[in-house]
Symmetry: C2
Subunit: 253 residues, 2 copies
DNA sequence: ACAAAATGAAACTGGTGACATTCCGCCACG
DNA sequence: CGTGGCGGAATGTCACCAGTTTCATTTTGT
């Protein structure tokens, strides 16, 4: 069924492996989203069914359904009779995205701080510990490498993946106790969008910031139940990343 | 092609009429969403492809794709290998939904009040005028009808549709100038969800409230650029509706 | 002769229908 | 009470068709 000699060296994509009792549509959705967030499908690139069919080794039906779901989320655009396109990265859209994300995150954070219990606190502590390690790992890895190298692709990608996962987990933990599944769901979608923008940049900013310190400050404010401070810090945290990326994207354009 | 004698008197659904250069998938999406919001597919009801195929007179492919999109929005649930289901109405979920909606609406409102220009103001005035008329129409229609009648279906449905449209347009107008498409998009989705809950109730609450007054107060606060007041009013406005519906749904359960 | 518009063909998307396969739930049977 | 088919539905593939877009070519006007 699967011809291993046919892996087609050029385009690396996440292979489908549908877990038990999982639909091919769901698997295709996950793989596609993964690859879109990582930029394996370039922003603006047309996503032709026939090509995707070969890349992911599925029929057109699960692909089309997955793409429809992704278009509802905003990662893909479905235009009239012209098929699907990976959503382009746009500076104005990014700004917009950040105000929305900040707003939702703040609200969720306030609610979580108001409602969270001990278990929630413990999970924040745990996530803070992990993101702290990831922050330092990234920072030290950077000092080892010469200035402007910033591996173009593939080399230390695992580290970046790990940091992104830890970062997502940390921020998710802080708001987990907010009590509104809708807020959490929306927040998750906005986070994914932001991650896509983040990964598209070269992460040159790292030198200028002490991410570990920022994260620990946020964690401290959360654990002290200082909602105002936590919101201020998170807003600044997001805005700093946004500013750096905007700078980079702005230059590129 | 279309057999008019086959309209199948029982289940009334929105017929598909794909506008020029529009995909059948999009048309199916619109019709399905419309019918889901109006409760023409009962909450929790299984949405079997074969049945929908006959109801809407389309092939299975556009239907499945439309349902995938709707499941991303939360109007439909797609469970494993058991097909699609109209999302159930749940009291806890409704509460959750309202906190999320209030939060997003407040944020958008603040931004709009900060950024809106004259044209925006004018459109708020216009929308306020229209919702005012709709509010009074509903109120007067209610006094004409005897107490507990509340037409079960089909009779004065047009009035209700008109009110819902005007209500949506009014609240949309107040936040239109917020400048964040993401916020607007999220807000729209949450509004749709709430409308579904609203329409599921019998609208008995109307007697107890002066909706026209509430809407005009909100409009006034917005036009005076009093963000704090506007947010307070809108939050109360939503909470009142939510409370009434929760009461009704609670009784039903 | 050259640029712009019109034409035509190829490619692709969107959609249908039939069929294979897999999975779930149920019922009968041990 | 467990278990093993069994029917039906959902998922997915394939082949095929219709309508659009797109691109290259041809035609036309100056």
């Amino acid at each position: 069924m699967n011809d291993p000699s046919l892996t087609d060296g050029r385009a690396q994509v996440t292979p489908l492996h549908p877990g038990a009792g999982e639909t091919l549509t769901e698997a295709a959705y996950r793989s596609l989203r993964n690859d879109l967030v990582r930029g394996r499908h370039a922003p603006g690139e047309r996503l032709r069914i026939e090509r995707l069919r070969r890349l992911y080794d599925v029929g057109p039906t699960p692909l089309r359904e997955a793409l429809q779901r992704l278009s509802a989320e905003g990662l893909v655009r479905a235009d009239g009779n012209r098929g699907f396109t990976a959503s382009p990265l746009d500076l104005a859209d990014f700004d917009d995205l950040n105000t929305a994300r900040s707003a939702v995150e703040r609200e969720a954070l306030r609610l979580a701080i108001a409602r969270g219990d001990e278990l929630w606190e413990a999970q924040v502590v745990s996530a803070a510990y992990l993101i702290g390690k990831a922050d330092r790992a990234i920072a030290s890895e950077r000092t080892v490498q010469p200035e402007g190298v910033a591996q173009p692709d593939g080399t230390a990608d695992g580290l970046l993946d790990h940091w992104e996962a830890a970062n997502a987990a940390f921020h998710r933990a802080t708001v987990a106790a907010c009590g509104s599944n809708w807020l959490l769901r929306i927040r998750e979608g906005l986070h994914t969008q932001c991650e896509r923008y983040r990964r598209a940049s070269i992460y040159r900013r790292r030198g200028k910031r002490d991410l570990a310190a920022e994260h620990q400050e946020i964690a401290a404010a959360v654990l002290e139940r200082d909602a105002d401070l936590a919101c201020t810090l998170v807003t600044a945290h997001f805005a700093a990343t946004a500013g750096d990326l905007a700078l980079e994207l702005g230059k590129a354009q």
